[in-house]
Amino acid sequence: MFVWFHKLASPPYFYRLAERIAPWFGWLSLIVMLAGLYGGLWLAPPDYQQGDGFRIMYVHVPSAWMSLFIYVVMAVAAAIGLIWRMKLAHAVSAAAAPLGASFTFLALATGSLWGKPMWGTYWVWDARLTSELVLLFLYLGYLALNHAFEDQRTGDRASAILALVGIVNVPIIHYSVKWWNTLHQGPTVFFGARADIPPSMYIPLFIMIIGFMLYFAAFILKRLQVEVLQRERHTAWVRELVERS
């Protein structure tokens, strides 16, 4: 197990591994997402109140879920990088941040498109919208700090600390904003718990979430390959790889 872990941390080994498995995740995510979309857009019945408008949730909810999930991934990778000084872990954080920021933006954009017909306005200062917006700023702050240093390693470690401070703050921000104001409809889907919506509506949602996770897996592997190449550009194996192709 530890031998494998060590091997995984070696950039050339990881690069070749990612080269092989990333397409699998990519194609799988495409299939799963198409299935989820079919279930969500055709099979699921229209909502008795929101009509077909609710269907945007098949993009909105997975994006919002991913925006939080990726932040946790980023912070855990940052902690691993700081504690065990694993170069690859820092690369994971750096590769995850733009993806996380994009999902956060997607969640905000779809949420505001949904808000126009449902609430009558594109934007309200509702708790979850606001904390999602703050999350976007946290991602942008992380990216700004990561790129501010000339030395990649210093930038990695400094932004890792910021990610850790952020992860302590995310629940505090979330609950303080919630306490401040709320208009967003309560969560209708819980894992394992009673759901307020019928299976034909929530099963496609779960499929979409799985599809988004697979998409994330595929693209973080691809982004990591680029990160690894950039970081290791002075090493022999990268030169060899470039010369061969």
């Binding site: 702050g141 700004a144 501010a148 390693r153 210093t154 600390i161 910021l162 505090i172 401040w180």
Partner: protein, 221 residues
């Protein structure tokens, strides 16, 4: 570690740079004065906006002061000496942030009383607003210090610091302004004040580790 000597050194250094210390205070007054100019001078409106305006202005003003927290020590090399000291860096950092708050945060709290009165904030509620600021501005100092420790080695840190720190200050702003607003409306304001106190406890216990870690990274390169 001689605590009194450290505090005295920081205070003396601050006193020698009086002009620099005045900047956040002046900034605080100007930002507050901009609000009536922008939204109109109607007393009822200003009275309603007062706690929010005071808090936003105090938040921005306290950030202005944070950039200088480690800068001069970094430039003249005494920060490296601090890191080499046998005393735990976390403790030294805690003292440094505290004295920095004494010279940058506390003046803001005192001045806030005057500015709140100018905005027509009810005098009876002033105690709660000040208590909120007394609990909240040190949290802002700690958060700002985290940002300052991470950016101390950068040349253009002044631009970066607010982007890093402002999102983290959202909870303080919410509870601080809520305390002031509730007190003004004559409602019980204990809950937000307790939340502010809890955040202060959290900041005092956790932030020094992040600040110390940030300084170690900034100086290693």
């Amino acid at each position: 570690m001689n605590i009194a000597a450290l505090v005295q050194r920081d205070l003396r250094l601050a006193y020698r740079r009086r002009g620099e210390l005045a900047t956040p205070v002046i900034f605080f007054i100007i930002v507050t004065a901009l609000f009536p100019l922008a939204v109109g001078s109607e007393p009822a409106l200003l009275r309603r906006l007062a706690p929010g305006v005071i808090w936003v202005a105090a938040l921005l003003a306290s950030l202005i002061g944070q950039d200088s927290l480690f800068k001069s020590d970094y430039e003249d090399g005494s920060l490296e000496q601090t890191l080499l000291s046998p005393a735990p860096l976390e403790g030294l950092v805690l003292l440094r942030v505290f004295t920095h708050w004494l010279v940058t945060g506390l003046p803001l709290v005192i001045l806030a009383v005057l500015l709140a009165l100018m905005l027509g904030y009810p005098t009876g509620a002033m105690g709660v607003l000040v208590l909120g600021l007394l609990l909240g501005t040190p949290v802002l100092s700690f958060l700002g210090a985290i940002g300052a420790s991470l950016t101390v080695g950068l040349r253009r840190s002044g631009m970066l610091l607010p982007i890093l720190v402002l999102p983290l200050t959202v909870p303080v702003l919410i509870f601080g302004a809520a305390a002031g607003e509730r007190a003004a409306l004559g409602e019980p304001a204990a809950a937000p004040v307790y939340f502010l106190a809890a955040m202060l406890v959290l900041a005092v216990t956790l932030a020094p580790f992040a600040i110390a870690g940030g300084l170690r990274i900034s100086l290693e390169s």
